[in-house]
């Protein structure tokens, strides 16, 4: 049952990811990207990370993609004509094929799946996923968390400075 659901979600995710790059119309691309994000959220739920799923939809589908569509609307981007750069396309294809081979090799050699850890399904069920993430973020990973927040703060200050006429 879960496998069927996974394959279905993965199929939709991959098909819409292909449409993101294949669509001539930027709006259709953006919509397909939203659908990919929602599929990723479903995958997070299947991995028993409901908090991550909700944040994924809230931040990516709900905020970032809305801004992307906003920009598309403001610039009034139309359809893009077919690019004639066949050499670039060939190079991209070769690169993608190499990446695929490399990923496949890593996946076959790695033994990530099945390794146990402290966080098990039972722990998530009894304790709550949000609580676990919060605890981990503010105890074990406090320094990376603070660094990330300072990085974001710098970005916000930068945005304010850029958009202000006289600093």
């Amino acid at each position: 049952m879960e496998a069927i659901l996974f394959y279905l979600t993965a199929l939709v995710a991959i098909v819409s990811a292909i449409f993101v790059i294949k669509c001539r119309n930027p709006i259709n691309s953006a919509l397909n990207l939203v659908s990919t994000f929602i599929c990723l959220a479903v995958l997070y739920i299947m991995l028993e990370c409901p908090f991550m799923a909700a944040i994924q939809i809230m931040v990516y589908a709900g905020a970032i993609m809305v801004l992307v569509i906003f920009v598309i609307m403001l610039l009034n981007l139309g359809s893009i004509g077919k690019s004639s750069n066949s050499r670039g396309m060939a190079a991209g294809g070769v690169l993608a094929a190499l990446m695929l081979l490399l990923t496949n090799a890593f996946l076959r050699r790695g033994d990530v799946s099945g390794t146990g850890g402290e966080v098990t399904s039972e722990l998530i069920k009894s304790y709550g996923h949000t609580e676990l993430i919060g605890k981990a973020m503010f105890t074990d990973f406090l320094l990376p968390f603070e660094i990330a927040s300072i990085l974001l703060l710098v970005a916000i200050v930068g945005a304010v400075i850029i958009s202000k006429r006289d600093v």
Partner: protein, 354 residues
């Protein structure tokens, strides 16, 4: 005898039946409220403006929503020649779906108990209790923007486009204030599940034991500022007067839905009212104690939802529309700092209380 909670493992058949009944009831009741909210809105606004509202179709005009629905259903469905047809078609669905999905996590009553085969079972009157309920609702509210944005963008009409742009900016900025005001709530309740938030509100007010037992800890008493912020930003999020700039009919014909006709227009209309119901239900659950109250649990809940909706309609009859820069000023320079300050204050209070 403590009742056994109905789950998929102990009684699969009964559980499935109960689940289906809950889904159907929640859906049908929401649809009915959507239909009759249009009637109530016309009637109430009519009375407030010393008119009668609809009177001819049925007793006191009660069949008016059905007549409107039939009329729209049989109209010609026009898709403009230059429109992005895909986005144009799915936009009305994208505004309606998130509103209905959000209803699924809202508890609309206390546990319902019944005996079957000599065993006492209890069914929570809630379609599903996610332990990230509040975040789920916020995520769905974020997705609700797409309907309006796409509708405005796909129509290939300048008024629609301006309506869409306005709604994007408005919703993104007011969602922040709404989200931050809700954060203060779950700092107090220490859970993200809506069921948990409702049961946290049934304790005595502020933990004072000497108060009469019917005074409960509804978060509107503890968090009046958060309630005000949530209320204002929810009006902005569902695009109602005084924040209905995306469809300001005096400036933009009818905004993002200018080019829509027939059932698609009806879907936009239903979406507006469905969103209104969802926001009212969320407000009732988070701030007014959910189904807590003197009558049957679901009656209390519906009563609170209707009270919210009445205030929304009342505001529409009373207030003029804001100017666009006033709207942005209010959102970013007043509501957002207030919401942030409220979160910080609540944090200190929680720390001191412990």
């Amino acid at each position: 005898m403590t009742p056994e909670v109905l789950t998929l493992s102990n009684t699969p058949l009964l559980y499935t039946a109960a689940m289906l009944v809950k889904v159907v009831v929640a859906f049908v009741v929401t649809l009915l409220i959507v239909a009759y909210a249009t009637w109530a809105e016309r009637k109430i606004i009519g009375r407030m403006q010393t008119r009668c509202g609809p009177t001819m179709t049925g007793y006191k005009g009660l069949l008016q929503p059905i007549a409107d629905g039939l009329k729209l259903f049989f109209k010609e469905d026009i898709i403009p020649a230059q429109a992005h047809w895909f986005a144009f078609i799915i936009a009305p669905m994208m505004i309606l779906a998130p509103a209905f999905i959000s209803i699924s996590v809202i508890p609309f009553g206390s546990d319902y108990q019944f005996t079957y085969d000599g065993i006492l079972y209890s069914v929570p009157l809630q379609v599903t209790d996610l332990n990230i309920g509040v975040l789920f609702i916020m995520a769905m509210a974020g997705l609700g923007v797409y309907g309006i944005v796409l509708g405005g963008l796909a129509s290939n009409n300048k008024y629609s486009l301006i309506g869409g742009i306005r709604s994007t900016a408005q919703m993104v900025s007011y969602e922040l204030a709404a989200g931050l005001s809700i954060i203060a709530i779950f700092m107090l309740s220490e859970t993200l599940s809506l069921r948990g938030i409702v049961s946290a509100q049934q304790l005595p007010l502020w933990g004072l034991e000497f108060l009469p037992s019917w005074v409960h800890n509804w978060y509107i008493f503890t968090q009046p500022l958060a309630f005000g912020l949530f209320f204002i930003s929810s009006i902005a999020e569902i695009n109602r007067t005084p924040f209905d700039l995306p469809e300001a009919e005096t400036e933009l014909v009818s905004g993002f839905c200018t080019e829509y006709s027939s059932m698609k227009y009806a879907l936009f209309f239903m979406g507006e009212y469905a969103n209104m119901i969802t926001i009212s239900a969320i407000g009732a659950t988070l701030f007014l104690g959910g189904w807590d109250g003197p009558f049957f649990s679901w009656m209390n809940f519906l009563f609170k939802v209707f009270a919210f909706m009445f205030v929304f309609i009342w505001i529409r009859a009373t207030f003029p529309r804001l100017r666009y820069d006033q709207l942005m000023f209010l959102g970013w320079k007043i509501m957002l700092p207030l919401a942030l300050a409220n979160v910080v204050l609540t944090g200190f209070a929680v720390l001191l209380w412990q």
